[in-house]
Subunit: 422 residues, 2 copies
């Protein structure tokens, strides 16, 4: 393990070093393979990992730069930085009153009539200056980072006008430049039909296709386009039109699909070679098969079912068995899943979807990296990869889903820099 | 609001000051009454609250001591310190492997045969020196405190021999003396029948009655006695004998009751005028009625159902409607609920038991204080009460259950001292 570069950071005495070295993506039984090294060490030069192995070997071979930071992991667990592949972090206000209305049995329609729902976040965002949006979103990123998340996919979708969608994507760009977390931007103008287009939805779709998508692509504000493909929002044909325009403009594709009903969203995503189809609570068997064949990843969001007090979770085990690339995410958003804890999602994935701890970790590292097409850089701890690393206050990685609702992160390294140190 | 004493701590500009002033305990609809003051302030002298009211009034009337600490809450939420009325914080090791076995469908018997269950924690604790136990338990208390908990009820029960039960209670006593959290000690020698008494359970019960309970009472090591009253553990008659001995020795009574089946545990607890019956997933209607009549409080533990991947939660709404005193707790323990987050329990109570945010807050403040017979001192923010106060990073108390799986505590004041400051 010769290291030509001098180490600027050395992490030694790692009880369980979860490298995730191995197949990319992890499919089926491979999801249980953590590339685990007991008594491991990692050396970093600048932003890059230069050695990974047994602690003694790494220490023995690494040449330390002057001022090299040495962290004694004291037998604890180390993993790659977590990747959250589906978030809506740029919104103005939380919606806790709606949550309480739901608890008290109010229906979706009653909540909408009381001014709730996505469209309330749209009115709210449009009325909020960019600097406030930025400040509040930054706080959410701080929380994500504190829970071990070093990269997120971040969607717009509470603007729903050319101006406010672009403003949202600009907030994402500013966050990406200034925050330790890397953000992968997704345009979600097709999150809902805004108030002013309720009676002329076709005109809104035309606006998306003729004005918003071209503007986003021209300004290079997003890598992906997403659409809320669901009965009552955008149907299959509308979604296809919107996403075809996005694809033609050079954007990758993601879908909100089959969350509330089986509508063929997964099949559409697969047929368009989308990077991901997300939610998938009601995915059909044909949809699962199509996704496995096309390599379209499933981004599953058990926090959303949980936080909506639902009982039906996406059929994760079936998807794993059928060879679909499975990733997990918080769905961090003000309506249906207000959380910045990806570890909490691992608890839900174990308890409600019967994923092992190792499968859960695969889903938020190597497989999540695949969904944002960054698997050569992040999601594994291997020589040459970006040094995004999390130290956990636990001695067995299986504590991650088991020890629920609390944050067990002790340190976070992003691009070689210690950014969280508890 | 004249304050004779000089303020050593002033918290001003509180957006929502949740005082909990009002009826003790909170029954039925009263649980929604938070004694809320918008734009509130609190003044503290030493360990005691000396003024509570509108921020301007408190500021206008309080005489500040030299060096008085002034905290600007900046419009955020303030509540009493939370009280966790059912914890098992003194254990040696976590049991994450068992959790994963359960996820993979292994039965209780298979897990027991693989060395799991309460008795594995007993073997583990007996083999662990007191200083290690103390250190690990302290870490759990630190986490509880960081989540806004300032008082806990703490049980023994992983010793199950006179020596190791006393050693556990001594650890609890040492923690109580040295840690910011106040601990209310409960003797739970009747948590399980230990390995060495499997074939002579009557002898273990005799040991409890003739040796352990008298020793605990003599040494003043516990305020309460608890028993795991459940089919296969201690039946109704055994539980009655054990608890009668405890009562005769001057201990208050708590019960693990009706968790797995309806066995009449709640009725027994009520008939013995117990302070609490806990779990109650399968409580009978007669049990609810008896508890309401006797004033025996229900301590509900939704985290346990959650963490065992169960679907049946205790009938909290029914108990509230029938006039039972309802409290909530983490059940913090290594087997069935490994968490130190009482806010996480409030999320579960809302989502799974349909409690409003206000009902949840009542259950972990004023009502929880009643279960440990300290309601004149803690659980409310009123003049003369102990200054146990939590500042939250939120503008509406309803964010507490809604914003799940993350810790929104910004500061904790215990007996007038700032002990957590983020």
């Amino acid at each position: 393990m010769p290291a030509e570069k001098k180490a600027t950071l050395l992490i030694k005495n790692i009880g369980q070093l979860v490298t995730m070295a191995g197949p990319v993506p992890r499919l089926g039984k491979q999801m249980n393979d953590l590339g685990l090294i007991e008594g491991g060490g990692v050396a970093v030069a600048g932003e890059e990992i230069i050695a990974v192995g047994k602690s003694d070997d790494v220490q023995g071979h690494a040449t330390l730069a002057e001022g090299c930071k040495v962290i004694d992991a004291a037998g604890a667990v180390v993993t790659p930085g977590l990747i959250d592949p589906h978030t809506h972090p740029v919104f103005a206000s939380t919606r806790e009153k709606e949550f309480e209305m739901r608890i008290q049995g109010k229906s979706y329609m009653e909540i909408a009539q009381a001014g709730g729902g996505i469209r309330s976040s749209v009115r709210d965002l449009r009325a909020t200056p960019a600097e406030i949006l930025l400040e509040r979103s930054k706080k959410r990123l701080n929380r994500l980072l504190a829970h071990g998340v070093t990269t997120i996919e971040a969607k717009s979708g509470y603007g729903l006008s050319t101006e406010s969608e672009i403003r949202t994507l600009e907030v994402i760009r500013t966050l990406n430049e200034g925050h330790a977390i890397d953000l992968v931007p997704t345009f979600l103008g097709a999150h809902e039909v805004p108030d002013e287009y309720r009676d002329k939805r076709k005109e809104y779709i035309d606006l998306l296709i003729n004005e918003m998508i071209p503007a986003v692509a021209r300004e290079n504000l997003a890598e992906y386009s997403d659409v809320f493909c669901e009965k009552g929002v955008f149907d299959i044909e509308e979604s296809r039109r919107i996403q075809q325009a996005a694809k033609d403009a050079g954007l990758g594709l993601r879908f909100h699909a089959d969350e509330l009903e089986s509508t063929g969203g997964a099949e559409l995503a697969a047929s368009m070679k989308a990077a991901t189809a997300d939610h998938l609570v009601y995915v059909s068997d044909a949809g699962i098969k199509a996704m496995a064949e096309s390599g379209t990843a499933a981004v599953l969001l058990p926090g959303t079912t949980f936080s909506l007090a639902g009982t039906k979770y996406a059929p994760a085990r079936k998807m794993i068995e059928q060879g679909v690339i499975v990733a997990l995410s918080t769905d961090c958003n003000p309506g249906s899943s207000c959380t910045e804890s990806l570890p909490m999602i691992l608890s839900l994935a174990s308890l409600q979807m019967k994923l092992t701890a190792a499968e859960g970790i695969s889903a938020v590292t190597v497989n999540a990296a695949v969904t944002v097409e960054r698997s050569k850089m992040i999601g594994r701890l291997e020589v040459g990869m970006q040094a995004d690393i999390v130290l956990w206050d636990m001695f067995d990685y299986r504590e991650l889903p088991y020890h629920y609702g609390v944050n067990l992160v002790s340190k976070v390294v992003k691009k070689g820099k210690l950014v969280i140190d508890k």
